[in-house]
């Protein structure tokens, strides 16, 4: 056996393991969102998450992959491994949306949108940067997808949230904000830690090749920086919420860690450890302020997805030039604008069409009783919920 053949095997295995970790993020999003919604909507958010992953895989295999990459000429690893790795990314983009529109979006409209996003919207946009398109030529840098995956998903989520409105009772008539606590903090924490773990595949795998000392060193750096940024994000959020409210709001800490992960994703291979910590810490602050700000303007996002993936995704793109000499702020801004514009406008159109046809929001009565009963017929914890509303 030649070393080239062995490298082929090693690189294939590296991509498959990375992709498996990214697939695992589907469980992370499921648990995070299941923990942050009320128990009456838990089964439905689980259905959405399982179905969106399934649909994303099928659509991307059948249509999206070739739209995004044509017929790629991969020689350093198995072509199928490449397909598998790219495929699991698209589910991540879609997962972001399910969180933002949780507790009020109609299941069927959500799944139709999922078909369109994973089959068309995302791959078309992705081809511009990762498929050799014009953003790549412009030197737009987005290593693993702060913008292409995370901000893209958040843009589609924002369009949905604008059209669907806030959950009943979230904003009181007197202008104050009514908190709607999620049902299960251990699940939310588990989900975040799963995502944290899966992100090593997400960022670590995006080097696409492991063989050779340069690649190996780069990947090791990616792992360290990804972890450092997440840790710093959690710490910064903790310190901030502790200073403002004297309480350590767990959900904000989790959002802080995720913000650190999203921010570093645009260029995890270039910062020093210290810079990675700084990038993550600032992300942890931004995300808290963004969540408070979006609530102020009455954009109701139960899990903070738009802040974590959208606002921080944008921030992540913007700090790339600080550490990556191959990037410049103009291209980063242009890239961010193009991605956001495309995803937001197309999504707005699709959500709008769905709204006037099938409708995108459950009825008031359904929202009151919870989508679990109306859409799924099964409650999440049937034995515990003593006071099911009638």
């Amino acid at each position: 056996m030649t070393t080239t053949e062995l490298a082929f095997s090693l690189d294939t295995f590296y991509l498959l393991m990375s992709a498996t970790l990214v697939m695992w993020m589907a469980a992370g999003f499921s648990m995070l969102e299941a923990g942050l919604v009320r128990s009456k909507n838990t089964t439905e958010i689980l259905v959405k998450n399982v179905m969106l992953y399934s649909i994303a895989c099928v659509m991307f295999m059948l249509i999206g992959y070739s739209l995004m990459y044509g017929t790629p000429d991969v020689t350093s690893h198995a072509l199928q491994a490449d397909l598998f790795f790219q495929m699991v990314f698209v589910a991540t983009a879609m997962s972001i949306i399910s969180g933002a529109v949780a507790e009020r979006m109609k299941l069927i409209s959500f799944l139709i949108f999922c078909v369109l996003l994973t089959g068309f919207l995302y791959p078309i946009q992705g081809s511009w940067s990762w498929g050799g398109g014009f953003l790549e030529e412009m030197e737009f840098v987005d290593f693993a997808g702060s913008g292409i995956v995370h901000m893209a998903g958040a843009a589609a989520a924002l369009a949905a949230v604008i059209l669907i409105g806030s959950r009943a009772g979230k904003y009181r008539k007197d202008g104050t904000i009514n908190a709607i606590p999620g049902a299960n903090m251990p699940l939310a924490t588990l989900g975040t830690l799963i995502l944290w773990m899966g992100w090593f595949g997400f960022n670590g795998g995006s080097q696409l090749q492991l063989s050779g000392p340069d690649n190996a060193n780069a990947i090791a750096t990616v792992f360290v920086n990804t972890n450092a940024s997440a840790a710093a994000g959690a710490i910064a959020s903790f310190v901030l919420v502790r200073l403002i409210w004297k309480k350590a709001d767990l959900t904000m800490i989790l959002n802080g860690a995720l913000a650190g992960l999203v921010a570093i994703t645009a260029s995890p291979d270039t910062p020093s450890t210290g810079m990675a910590i700084a990038i993550g810490a600032v992300a942890g602050i931004i995300v808290v302020l963004s969540i408070l700000g979006l609530d102020r303007i009455k954009l109701d996002d139960p899990v903070g997805a738009i802040s974590v993936h959208g606002v921080v995704g944008f921030y992540g793109l913007m700090v790339v030039p600080l550490t990556n000499s191959g990037a410049n702020i103009v291209s980063q801004l242009a890239g961010a604008g193009v991605i956001f514009g495309w995803m937001f406008v197309t999504s707005l159109v699709i959500w709008g069409l769905l709204k006037v046809t099938l409708g995108i929001r459950v009825t008031g009565a359904e929202e009151y009783r919870g989508s679990d009963i109306s859409d799924c017929g099964v409650q999440a914890y049937p034995e515990f919920v003593a006071n099911r509303q009638d």
Binding site: G377, A386, N387, R388, Q389, D390
Partner: protein, 112 residues
């Protein structure tokens, strides 16, 4: 003095509480209960088989009042809790022999 027991739909709690407030009644005790009456439970499906949910969730309010308040409170509850649909609930009135405020030891009218 009387003890008013009201069985209402859970969704009506906020309205009833506001209505009680207006007629000057500030104390009440709420219990989660299940009701059975003319209104029937639903059948749900799980793996193709039926789940009979025969009892319906209701709230029970216990409100101690002075005799002169009783009619006002009962009417306030009726207005606030009524939706016109089966299952709106019932109000029961019982005589109270004695009331005591634990904190102060005050009794009867003072204690309500």
């Amino acid at each position: 003095m009387q003890l008013i027991i009201a069985i209402i739909k859970p969704a009506k709690l906020a309205d009833v509480r506001d209505a009680l407030h207006e007629v000057g009644c500030n104390g009440l005790t709420v219990t989660e209960v299940k009701g059975f009456g003319q209104q029937r439970g639903t059948e749900e499906l799980y793996r193709g088989a039926t789940v009979r949910a025969e009892f319906l969730p209701k709230l029970r309010l216990d409100i101690a009042v002075n005799s002169e308040q009783t009619q006002g409170v009962v009417e306030a509850i009726q207005k606030a809790a009524s939706t016109g649909n089966t299952g709106d609930g019932k109000v029961f009135v019982l005589n109270l022999e004695q009331v005591l405020r634990i904190r102060t030891g005050e009794t009867d009218a003072q204690a309500i």
